[in-house]
Symmetry: C2
Subunit: 441 residues, 2 copies
């Protein structure tokens, strides 16, 4: 965005305090308690002893979506499914342009109760409050429940939102298989989705003025900072590789250190070196998977394979980190008489959310949390996909202990209440008062 445009908007918004924004709106009074009630009901509906059962393209997920459909029917709002399986529920506005809020109802297996569901049911309460107000908002309001955000069954995350963003290539995902060997294309067909037509969902993005999402942080920063809600500046870029260090196997008993070419020692040196390279708050470096081959206690491994997931908000810094780690591995491998190589598994560039929406989000969060904190998302989100084609923004609620993707995932009710209330103010401001938000890229 041009600096001039940003300044023009900023000063315009600064002259319009949040209370005044709400005065211009109809008597829309969304209530965070109703969001917590819906979330608790969904939790009971999809609970197993080991966590929530809402894996995409399964019965548990269908049950969660049926619950959402019931709630929408109760408030007289109709919903429809787009070609990629995303559910859209819309309330008409005075103008034709549309503000969307949402997230996803699918979860990882044995997942938590808030991941995705928080954003969907916060959005539902917004629709409910708008519908209850008895008069149309300035802009149309849509709630989107994106399909298969987690990608936990077929390994392809952000399926529905990438279709809306025009970034889904069916030929690259059709043949992905789940653990039981079922093809992604067939699983979708079983839920009435023709994968080849999924990219048509991108037509809906053209009508969007903004996309806003409330999500749990899935990390420990807000908790550590003591902040109940924070604006998200963007998403880190990701560089993910599988590294292989190859040495020479041998009997554990017969080879002294000096005559070994031990890839385990080289891998350990590389991992220690990686932590030294990436010890700051700006970057993320994770070795989540490691295997020694042949993997028997009485043999020096022939080779060690491990994944390295690097993330940074800056593409330049991410590339630097990648380069410096490659040097670390090379040196460690050479020192142990081993060879090394890497295969790219996944790569995505950093994403910045719309700076005008971010500015507004930051002010709203500061008003509710008592302190303005801006964070960068390490995980990907539907909003990150949408940001490629629509001005998008996110708010984060804290995660206790930074835990997510497990039944231990939780957020204090007081924090949830504050974060939901902040999201309501933010969304209503964008829905009613926020002018001049061109798609800027």
């Amino acid at each position: 965005v041009a600096a001039a445009a940003l300044t023009a908007w900023s000063s315009r918004f600064a002259a319009m305090p949040i209370d005044e924004t709400r005065d211009r709106a109809p008597a829309v009074r969304p209530d965070p308690r109703r969001v917590l009630d819906d979330l608790a009901e969904l939790r009971n509906l999809t609970a197993t002893p080991r966590g929530a059962d809402r894996l995409a393209w399964t019965e548990g997920w269908a049950r969660a979506r049926a619950f959402l459909a019931e709630r929408l029917a109760e408030i007289g709002v109709e919903s429809e499914r787009d070609e990629a399986g995303n559910v859209w529920a819309t309330v008409d506005g005075v103008d034709r342009d549309m503000v969307a809020v949402g997230s996803h109802l699918d979860a990882v297996p044995e997942g938590g109760w808030l991941d995705g569901a928080l954003g969907v049911f916060a959005g539902l309460e917004l629709l409910r409050a708008v519908a209850a107000s008895g008069r149309p908002p300035r802009r149309r309001l849509a709630l989107i429940d994106f399909a298969d955000e987690e990608g936990a069954r077929f390994g392809r995350s952000l399926l529905g939102s990438s279709a809306v963003a025009g970034r889904l290539d069916p030929s690259r995902v059709a043949d992905l298989r789940d653990a039981a060997g079922v093809r992604l294309e067939d699983a979708l067909a079983g839920h009435g989705i023709d994968l080849d037509r999924a990219p048509s969902a991108s037509a809906r993005a053209r009508g969007l003025t903004a996309y806003l999402e409330l999500h749990i942080e899935q990390g420990p920063i807000l908790e550590a900072e003591g902040v109940s809600v924070a604006a998200v500046r963007g998403a880190m870029g990701i560089s993910r590789h599988r590294w292989t260090i190859t040495g020479r196997t041998g009997h554990a008993g017969s080879t002294p250190a000096a005559l070994r070419r031990d890839p385990m020692v080289a891998a350990a040196q590389a991992i220690v070196g990686l932590r030294a390279l990436a010890s700051g708050d700006e970057e993320r470096a994770t070795v989540g998977q490691i295997e020694a081959v042949p993997g028997i206690p009485t043999a020096i491994p022939e080779r060690v394979e491990f994944t390295v997931d690097l993330r940074h908000e800056s593409a330049v810094e991410l590339a630097r980190l990648e380069r410096e780690f490659a040097d670390v591995v090379r040196r460690a491998a050479e020192q142990q008489g081993c060879a090394s190589g890497a295969e790219e598994i996944f790569a995505v560039s950093p994403t910045r959310f719309d700076p005008r929406l971010l500015e507004l989000a930051g002010e709203v969060c500061a008003a509710h949390a008592g302190r303005r904190l801006e964070v960068v998302s390490g995980p990907g989100h539907d909003a990150v996909e949408l940001a490629h084609v629509v001005p998008a923004a996110m708010l984060f609620a804290p995660s206790i202990g930074g835990v997510s993707h497990s039944r231990e995932e939780d957020t204090a009710a007081a924090d949830l209440t504050i974060a939901i209330a902040a999201f309501f103010d933010f969304a209503l401001a964008v829905l009613e008062a926020f002018d001049n938000l061109p798609i800027d890229r």
Copy 2:
């Protein structure tokens, strides 16, 4: 052994040069070339594209044993199987006491051609030469083909030799299962072995004056030293543990280094520290197996488990190594905010071979190799089990690249020839000339 007894024997043997020793023997002329021929034939008989097929208690192993039985029949030597499945082939001597030579015909899956087979067919050639000499040797000579030395199918190595040594407890191994779920006891029954009666094989140890074994080193030391045959001083003690470092899982993208409790970093630090502790020629330290749980590229592991195999010739030093490594793990875990713990998998004390036999073996090897090298075995061997109840000794032939347990296992023919010839001289000296070898413990 008392120093005085050793000195008495040493000076006695020193006064009796090897040639004189052989002059006292009958015209026994074992030929290393016949050993290489037999080994080549066994290799062809049990070859697969990926290595030798001689896994204990399988068809391939039975085929190898049938080949040995054929060769024994050709020279008119009968063999019998003891209660543990070991094959004994005996030639009578003038005296009642017995010198045994041998090793094992079983191999790891896709194994090499020399491991075990070298010692068995060197022993066969000795029997053949003694039988061909037309007159009995001074002592009885037995060739033993031990059953299931590798333990590769059920995870219990040295099965047959531990029975002879009186160290096999059937109740502790009966229920071991192979990868297909077959019980050890049932597999043995399929080969006509009643596991409960296996300990009776220990009666045979009482008749033994000495047990001698030629084996490949399975390590790189002889090659590095340029020596074709070396005497083995004993076997290292082994301390094998599974370590677990437990941290806190979290999303790879959302947790900065300072807020992580990352067990992978702690494990890497521990492994780097282990190499620093055990970088000398005296000790062995190997991490052959490692696993991160849950083991997904986008999550900080909840815990990392890895095996640590420590070996040393000295029990005191082994215990020190174990203690110092435990400190290294504890410090690394604490530094990363993790907990650590270990479970013992396996432990065995160091073994020293009979010092009088070692002295003789050292002199014979020096005569054949041009240089006297004494090594310690890291791997266990049948001779190490026998050493608990019988004066035992081993000679090592070099292994190219230190490789074993694979089809790449090999030894230069010139080295094999020298090592086999040395073993013949050594065994004939013990068979014919070596007096006063009491069981000394």
